[in-house]
């Protein structure tokens, strides 16, 4: 029911590497993210489109599912105990939740300066400014910029808590599917991960494909991944009950 189905496709759009995008995804719709080159990163945030004070909450998401990363079976929780979206399919295996976003200083220090005056739309963009640009379009701003998910990126911790960026976590053609379980404002940037070890600025392009997936079935892989998610889906279904 929630698997990718080209017959139910709604639209398709490519977000060039380094760029930013926002859009509304209704409950029961889904987005496939396809990495068009290796080493992709999508810094993404989720807000309840009807009450934007309700938004993706990193700690609530991690502690409900006892995980520091996201993959098939995981969901993104809002701060109100509801499931905003679900990882129904994933060819990557690890999406980062704890490292945040690149900003102008990080990008300049790593890659140097390439501005609009010299590079036009090939300028080096950073995730923070991209997300803020999109947030501002929806009446949101710096105070709404919270801990995000970095699709396609992997950073793991050793026993002492030191972080290591795993280069090559995703390759061209990798996909991750998110089903939206609420009416969600999606805000994203395809700028590099802040801990990316690449010496050159070459963020991957990402294809967005939307389709009608329907809401989570009783035997849904995410609903049944753990008893916490079963309760999270009950909270979400109560929110939309009428």
């Amino acid at each position: 029911m929630t698997t990718f189905n080209t017959e139910k496709m709604l639209w398709e759009e490519t977000v060039p590497g380094g760029n930013h995008w926002s859009g509304l995804m209704r409950r029961g719709s889904a987005l496939r993210f396809t990495a068009l080159q290796g080493g992709a990163n999508v810094s993404v945030l989720f807000y309840n489109m009807e009450e934007k004070l309700e938004r993706y909450n990193m700690p609530d998401t991690l502690k409900a599912q006892h995980t520091a990363f996201l993959t098939t079976g995981n969901v993104c929780y809002s701060d109100m105990g509801r499931v905003m979206c679900s990882f129904t399919h994933d060819s990557v295996g690890w999406h980062d939740t704890i490292c945040g976003i690149s900003d102008v200083a990080i990008v300049q220090k790593k890659y140097g300066v390439a501005n609009y005056q010299t590079h036009r739309n090939d300028m080096y963009r950073n995730a923070k400014d991209g997300l803020l640009t999109e947030l501002t379009k929806h009446g949101l701003g710096k105070r709404d910029l919270v801990a995000n998910v970095n699709l396609f990126s992997k950073v793991s911790a050793n026993d002492d808590g030191n972080l290591v960026f795993q280069a090559g976590n995703s390759k061209a053609g990798d996909v991750v599917d998110l089903r939206f379980d609420m009416n969600v404002l999606v805000v994203l940037s395809t700028a590099p991960h802040p801990l990316d070890t690449s010496k050159v600025y070459q963020p991957a392009d990402v294809l967005l494909t939307a389709w009608h997936a329907g809401t989570a079935a009783d035997n849904d892989v995410c609903r049944n991944a753990c008893e916490q998610n079963q309760r999270g889906f009950i909270n979400t279904e109560r929110f939309y009950a009428n």
């Binding site: 700690p59 502690k63 109100m80 704890i98 945040g100 972080l163």
Partner: protein
């Protein structure tokens, strides 16, 4: 890293106790040292910091983690703001490890984590909402729910394994253990002395904490 303080309680310019399960807020000036003391042991202290002059700049867990490449906090850790500026530096720590991934408990997240009927139990985020509506130094800065972001849990042990597992382990704190930090800017401190009874973060027995401030030497 375990390190002891050289400061003496009789020289503190602020010395207050926060009862079990209650919120606390206060101002710490640039150069002052702030200590949180776990009076009876294994008490999680959910803590947020704001730039006292512009609360839009606030403690950022993801900046703190990413800029130091490290998920745990202890002596030497810098607590970074959402603007990438150092807010405080941990200068003494007799506990050894503090969490910044576990966040604050909430009525709503308790329904997910434990059972739908746990919603009425007292929680840290209800404490933060209470402070937003009652505490003058929080209200003066027009802090609202959208400023309540991923916090620090002092004295809480949330180990992350190399394969990405995350658990709430028994506390490694004990009676009389403390963490001390120097303010690198004027900060507003907002605390919930955690009332959670469903997991071992407070050893199933929330207890009071002591808050102390010293002027710069």
């Amino acid at each position: 890293m375990l390190t002891e303080s050289k400061l003496h309680i009789e020289h503190a310019v602020l010395n207050e106790t926060c009862a079990a399960g209650e919120p606390w807020s206060g101002l710490v000036k640039h150069g002052q040292t702030f200590r949180i003391l776990d009076l009876e042991g294994n008490q999680a202290v959910d803590t947020l910091f704001y730039n006292a002059h512009n609360a839009e700049e606030r403690y950022s867990a993801i900046d703190t983690i990413q800029r130091q490449g490290q998920i745990y906090l202890t002596t030497g850790s810098i607590l970074y703001s959402s603007e990438g500026n150092p807010m405080l530096t941990i200068t003494a720590d007799t506990c050894g490890r503090h969490d910044t991934l576990g966040g604050a408990c909430a009525a709503e997240s308790n329904t997910v984590r434990y059972a739908l009927n746990k919603r009425p139990m007292h929680s840290c985020r209800d404490n933060f909402m209470h402070a937003i509506t009652h505490s003058a130094c929080v209200q003066d800065r027009e802090i609202t729910k959208r400023d309540i972001t991923a916090n620090i849990n002092f004295f809480m042990n949330v180990p992350v394994t190399p394969d990405g597992g995350l658990s709430f382990a028994d506390g490694i704190s004990g009676a009389g253990k403390y963490v001390e930090m120097r303010a690198e800017m004027d900060v507003l401190v907002l605390i919930s002395n955690c009332p959670q009874l469903n997991n071992p973060c407070n050893a199933y027995n929330p207890t009071p904490i002591q808050l102390l401030v010293w002027d710069a030497a």
